[in-house]
């Protein structure tokens, strides 16, 4: 096992060079859809790429539909991952069934890519309950809004798995802003010291609401934050699903093999507002966004796959139709009726409601029955 006595951490190494990220983010397919060779990294097999492409189409459609539902007042709020779909898709595709995903509020598309029912995945943002799916059954933790706090839970889940001797890996996702939170550092440190199988996946979309990356850190990159904890850091083009599959896949394999945690920073961009309630014109020029539109993760994959004859018009139509039916399911599933009963407000505070909670629930029941009688 991996806990030690005295002052001998068998994993401590004075050799630091391998902990540093590459100077440029790993890219395997450039924005024009051309493959680029990259030392030490391999193009994933065609099957994996086609699967990722289909998931990208679905994720984009999910984002579009969710944005539309906000405009119609059927969702309270939606933090879109438009433009970040390659990250959303890849961090899930590299996981096995028994692995865990720890997402943030921005990662609903990843949760759906994991196989969670889209309507259940939107429970939080629709305002029905705080979380709508079963974390144990889906191996997806409730979406975290207190920034970086969930990274520690990810470490705990992974540590428990190691103690039991199973080979679960945990994918812990956060944004660039969250890397300034204390819990980010504590999570990396705990994961490193206990050598827990966690992949910390930072989607650096250059903004934390209105605050740009330069205000979060003076580090050369976010991936450089790994070295201080003895964790290897890697940078990857966050709009290149092929590179993401390779880098994240390797990190997951390493973690599963007992080689400890890894930090992966995906360089991407928040093309849309933070949420529908945000006004980016107050803090960034629209000209800043334009070049990123040309780096769209979907068009470059489509160009690459079509160029190699890996997909054709029929496949594209098929994936589009699947995405349409998912969107139709969202529209149909998100009705007006609340899914939860007021009694549930009291039912899940403790395993057994306290006498005081029973009294309070009775007060509401009485109020409601008098309202009905009126």
């Amino acid at each position: 096992m991996f806990i030690w006595r005295g002052n001998q951490n068998p994993f401590m190494t004075r050799d630091a060079a391998h902990l540093l990220p590459s100077t440029e983010p790993v890219t395997l397919i450039d924005p024009d859809g051309h493959p680029v060779p990259c030392d030490g990294h391999e193009m994933p097999d065609p099957q994996a790429l086609v699967r990722a492409y289909a998931a990208l189409i679905t994720a984009r459609r999910f984002n579009d539909q969710a944005n539309a539902l906000v405009r119609q007042g059927r969702l309270a709020v939606y933090p879109s991952s438009h433009g970040q779909e390659a990250c959303q898709v890849a961090c899930v595709q590299v996981l096995g069934d028994g692995d865990w995903l720890f997402p943030t509020y921005r990662d609903t598309a990843a949760i759906v890519a994991r196989g969670v029912d889209p309507v259940q995945a939107l429970t939080l943002l629709r305002g029905d309950w705080h979380s709508g799916y079963d974390p144990q059954a889906t191996r997806v933790a409730p979406q975290a809004t207190p920034l970086a706090t969930h990274l520690l839970h990810a470490v705990g889940v992974a540590h428990a798995a190691r103690l039991r001797g199973d080979d679960t890996v945990v994918m812990a996702v956060c944004g660039d802003g969250a890397t300034s939170e204390g819990d980010f550092h504590e999570a990396l440190n705990f994961a490193a010291v206990f050598r827990t199988p966690v992949v910390f996946f930072v989607q650096n979309n250059e903004y934390a609401i209105s605050v740009p990356l330069a205000r979060q850190t003076a580090a050369p990159s976010l991936a450089h934050k790994g070295i201080g904890y003895g964790i290897p850091g890697e940078r990857v083009d966050g709009n290149d699903v092929a590179a993401l599959l390779d880098v994240l896949g390797t990190a997951v394999d390493r973690a599963r093999a007992g080689e400890g945690p890894q930090l992966v920073e995906a360089h991407t961009y928040r093309v849309q507002a933070h949420t529908n309630a945000d006004d980016p014109s107050r803090y960034r020029e629209s000209g800043e966004v334009t070049p990123w539109l040309a780096r769209d993760p979907i068009t470059r994959m489509e160009t690459y796959l079509r160029g190699r004859g890996l997909i054709g018009a029929d496949k594209i139509r098929e994936y589009g139709a699947a995405a349409d039916s998912l969107a139709a399911g969202m529209r149909a599933g998100l009705g007006d009726e609340p899914v939860a009963d007021y009694r549930e407000l009291f039912a899940y505070v403790y395993a057994e409601p306290t006498p005081q909670l029973r009294e309070q629930m009775a007060v509401v029941a009485d109020e409601l029955s008098r309202e009905e009688a009126r």
Binding site: M1, G132, P146, T149, V157, A160, V193, T354, Q356
Partner: protein, 327 residues
């Protein structure tokens, strides 16, 4: 079998027996491994159960609690130690936003059975940041259970119950009682979490206390008895869930009450007790309920803590003011 032991012995035995009884129990925190904790509550556990069951972590309280939450989500029953009351504050966000809310957030699907042991309160001549009475912060947070034992037998029984609880439990260990000895039979079950007990019968007035204030209340009752006044003493044991039934029955039986607590009185557990009892027992009361609490000041330096802490005299003065002229 009855034996004489300290609260520290009893807590250590409770952890040992819990680790023996259930493989999913793990103990961790700062210096809890080979050292056995700064108060030696985890003494010998690493030696007996190995470093996977009782281990030291890096020095970061939010990290300790956050990791405990994840381990609990994955089938473990973590028992974590916060080294001192005031050093638990870095873990506050994890407690309030996650430990307390996980069951609720997941609509009942995921509970986090964690025990957070907090060496707590003053009376030991500790320097600043080592003597806080932090119970109100926890008690104010729906989703947490908050308990405080006042003698070795209860310390053992409540800690075993806390480890078995499906909900997160803040376990407040009165530091000044760690090394006080008492007769206890650890094989005799204690009342469950959520029940208060009457520690001393009395007919004239009720003292309501918990944790470190209980022995002081008992002493005051003894002194009052010398003066011919019969004081009943209720030990809350469990702040959350609160035992309205036992407390109200006690107050109704005497018609007078004083709440005794070390914590500052403003917006405190003691204010809650007064409010609850007044709402429920108004017509049985012969006098307004009094409180004897710490003052609304940061915990004093060691040489002045005696000024701050509820004392027998202060309790007896409060009892004297319970409008006996109308008796």
């Amino acid at each position: 079998m009855p034996e004489k032991l300290t609260m520290a012995n009893a807590l250590n035995r409770a952890l040992r027996d819990a680790l023996r009884a259930d493989d999913s129990v793990v103990v961790f925190g700062e210096d809890v491994g080979p050292l056995g904790g700064v108060f030696r509550i985890t003494d010998g556990l690493t030696a007996e159960f190995g470093e996977q069951r009782c281990f030291d972590t890096p020095l970061a309280e939010s990290g300790i609690l956050g990791m405990a939450i994840g381990m609990a989500m994955n089938g473990m029953r973590p028992v974590v130690e916060m080294q001192f009351d005031a050093f638990a504050y870095p873990a506050f966000e994890q407690l309030v936003s996650h430990a307390a809310k996980m069951r609720n957030r997941t609509r009942g699907r995921v509970g986090v059975p964690i025990v957070v042991r907090v060496p707590y309160a003053g009376g030991i001549g500790g320097v600043e940041h080592h003597c806080d009475s932090s119970e109100a912060y926890y008690a104010h947070t729906p989703g947490l259970h908050v308990v405080a034992p006042s003698d070795p037998a209860d310390a053992y029984g409540l800690l075993r119950a806390a480890v078995e609880s499906p909900d997160p439990v803040i376990f407040l260990e009165p530091k000044k009682l760690y090394f006080s000895r008492a007769e206890a039979d650890l094989s005799t079950p204690v009342p469950p979490i959520g029940q208060a007990v009457v520690r001393r019968d009395g007919t004239d007035a009720t003292l309501i206390a918990y944790g470190p204030a209980v022995p002081v209340a008992l002493e005051a009752a003894e002194a009052a008895a010398q003066e011919g006044r019969s004081l009943q003493v209720v030990d809350l044991r469990s702040i959350v869930p609160f035992d309205d039934e036992t407390v109200c029955a006690a107050v109704r039986s005497t018609g007078r009450a004083v709440v005794v607590a070390e914590a500052a009185g403003f917006a405190s557990v003691s204010s809650e007790v007064v409010a609850r009892v007044t709402e429920r027992c108004f017509h049985s009361l012969h006098a307004p309920i009094r409180r004897v609490t710490g003052f609304d000041i940061p915990y004093p330096p060691p040489k002045l803590e005696h000024v701050h802490l509820p004392s027998v005299d202060r309790i007896l003065d409060a009892v004297d003011e319970l409008q006996w002229e109308y008796a």
